[in-house]
Amino acid sequence: MRRFVPVIVVALLATVPLWLGDPYILNAFITTGIFTIAAMSLNLLLGYTGQLSLGHVAFFGIGAYVSALTALGFDVELFDGFHVVHEPWPVIYGFILAIVIAGLCGYLVGKLSFRVRGAYFVIVTISFAEVVRLVALNWVELTQGPLALTNIPPVTLGLPGIGYANLYGKTGNYYLVLGVGVIAYVVIKHLVQSRIGRAMIALKENESLALSVGINVTRYLVLAAIVSAAIAGAAGSLYAHYLRIIDPDIFLFLYTVTMVIMVITGGKGTLAGPVVGGALFGAIPVIVRSFAAPEVQWILYGAFMIAIIFVLPQGIVPAIERWFAPRPSKKQLVASQSSVSAE
């Protein structure tokens, strides 16, 4: 039964544009969907390898910039008189390049920080994101810096030689986001429910022990970083072509925070967690906007977050799972008082 839940959810989501008349809500669905994909990618790192990337927006932003620049073209003088000129390419190449280059950056960060863990990994990722933001801000020639990249073309679907269709409209973009979301979900699912996934979890739980049974911890951390970054890059690309303008504000720390909120409230380390958290925290701003003053909207948002964690500290999805899968004989680890057992 449980296996079919995702299928049913996707089927239901696929009907949304058919009956939802309100473009504002559809817009909320699309942006929420994009951030949910990013949150899913973050979950791979945070929930499975236990490494919190608070600079995750860097991959998202890199994906957005790569994709936009591929589609717009650029002319950069690297050093005296040496120009790199790029003519605009079809958007689909941008999308693919976004994934590849974001993945490469994930490789870089994974490799660079292969020895740092926990808080130190957090700060390396934050630093990386800040450095990338500052490059986007200051390398005006390439990125237009704060002047923003405008007139980014919408996604075109099709194959060279056969023809293209522009996705200006919301419905097209909606299905695109849904499609990418489903692929991302399946990729992550296959990955974590496998030997590789177990290796990642082992790294999170007890690194020395993982090493001692022959798990190449670094390799799996790097792999997780690559996949995670690549998916975030895909989300960024979707974002750029949907919003059709990007500037260094895309590296807003708030966006990372949004992703983290989605992952943890939904339930980190669960496949459905980021999706549920994403849906919830995509909906809340829309709902509170209708009745509360601006500051109060934020206060409610924050208070709601705290409330969820107080009631369901593991997140929503694990709580639901426990509800539906009562295995009474299974012993639970009582973590609270007295964990006096040597580890």
Binding site: R117, V122, S127, V131, T265, I299, G302, I309
Partner: protein, 290 residues
């Protein structure tokens, strides 16, 4: 040369600022392992408190400082009791999220109360700078530096030399065993968070007058504070202080001799570089395997 000397003087002044931001967080993040996103808000709180006392109520600036510290102590204790205590046993990321929620609530409450317009506080210090040869600095900032060094020293003594400090470290290294030693661990949790918070408020109270006070002043303050604590090695007071000065130096020289657009990038590059060489900060603790 004179420009260089000025940069060095600026580094000392700014480093004091950063160190001050770092030490409060060393307690809460470095020792308690709570990713404290409210640090910046407590900093802002301290700043607004000084504004309230010295500009709104018209009392003396020097009086405002201790009062802000006490207010920070109280607010910190409240946060611990209301938000952190129920989260005991939850993992670090989950607690972090609660703190993010608290940050959002606090920041927007500040804006609701004070409005978004920046405030400034006048101080009894002369506006003309102190000039030593080619170098010139403001008296207020020298005062801040001196206070920062005093607070760092006091925190160092507290953590490493007093019984309370030992109890704090013991509690966060092994809560149950600390309780077995007779430590009232609940009180220690509250006390540690309150003291860390009051140091943040103190930083705000000192720096608010030096800068301008706005609901968003805490954002970069937090970010820098985290970086500094990690640079120095978690829980290491001297490390945090030195980390603060290193970050200041990197930024100052980065802006002075590389490019001001990459000023902050220099700081972060230094952090990345340090962590690549010493993955657990400049002053890592010994660890063993097996």
């Amino acid at each position: 040369m004179s420009e260089f000397l000025q940069h060095i003087a600026n580094t000392l002044i700014l480093g004091g600022t950063y160190a001050l931001l770092g030490i409060g967080l060393t307690l809460i993040f470095g020792i308690m392992r709570v990713v404290n996103f409210t640090h910046g808000e407590l900093y802002t709180f301290g700043a607004y408190f000084v504004f309230l006392i010295s500009s709104v109520l018209g009392l003396n600036f020097l009086l405002a400082l201790p009062v802000a510290i006490i207010a920070g102590l109280v607010l910190g204790a409240l946060i611990e009791l209301l938000l952190l205590r129920p989260m005991r046993g939850a993992d670090i990321d989950t607690t972090m999220l609660v703190m993010i929620g608290a940050m959002i609530v606090m920041q927007n409450s500040e804006q609701l109360v004070w409005g978004g317009v920046a405030k400034s506080v006048s101080t009894p210090f002369p506006e003309t700078p102190l000039v030593i040869g080619p170098v010139s600095v403001s008296y207020l900032r020298v005062f801040v530096l001196v206070m920062a060094l005093l607070l760092i020293a006091a925190t160092y003594v507290l953590i490493n030399r007093t019984k309370l400090g030992k109890a704090m470290r013991a509690t966060f290294q092994d809560r149950d065993t600390a309780a077995l030693m007779g430590v009232n661990v609940r009180a220690i949790y509250t006390a540690t968070f309150a003291i860390g918070s009051s140091l943040a408020a103190a930083a705000g109270a000192l720096l608010g007058p030096a800068y301008v006070i706005s609901p968003h002043m805490g954002d970069i303050a937090s970010l820098k504070a985290f970086a500094i604590v990690i640079l120095g090695g978690l829980g290491n007071i001297t490390g945090a202080a030195i980390g603060g000065f290193i970050l200041a130096l990197a930024e100052e020289l980065g802006a002075g001799y590389v490019s001001s657009g990459y000023r902050d990038a220099m700081g972060f590059l230094i952090i990345i570089a340090v962590l690549l060489i010493k993955p657990t900060g400049l002053f890592a603790r010994a660890e063993r395997i097996g």
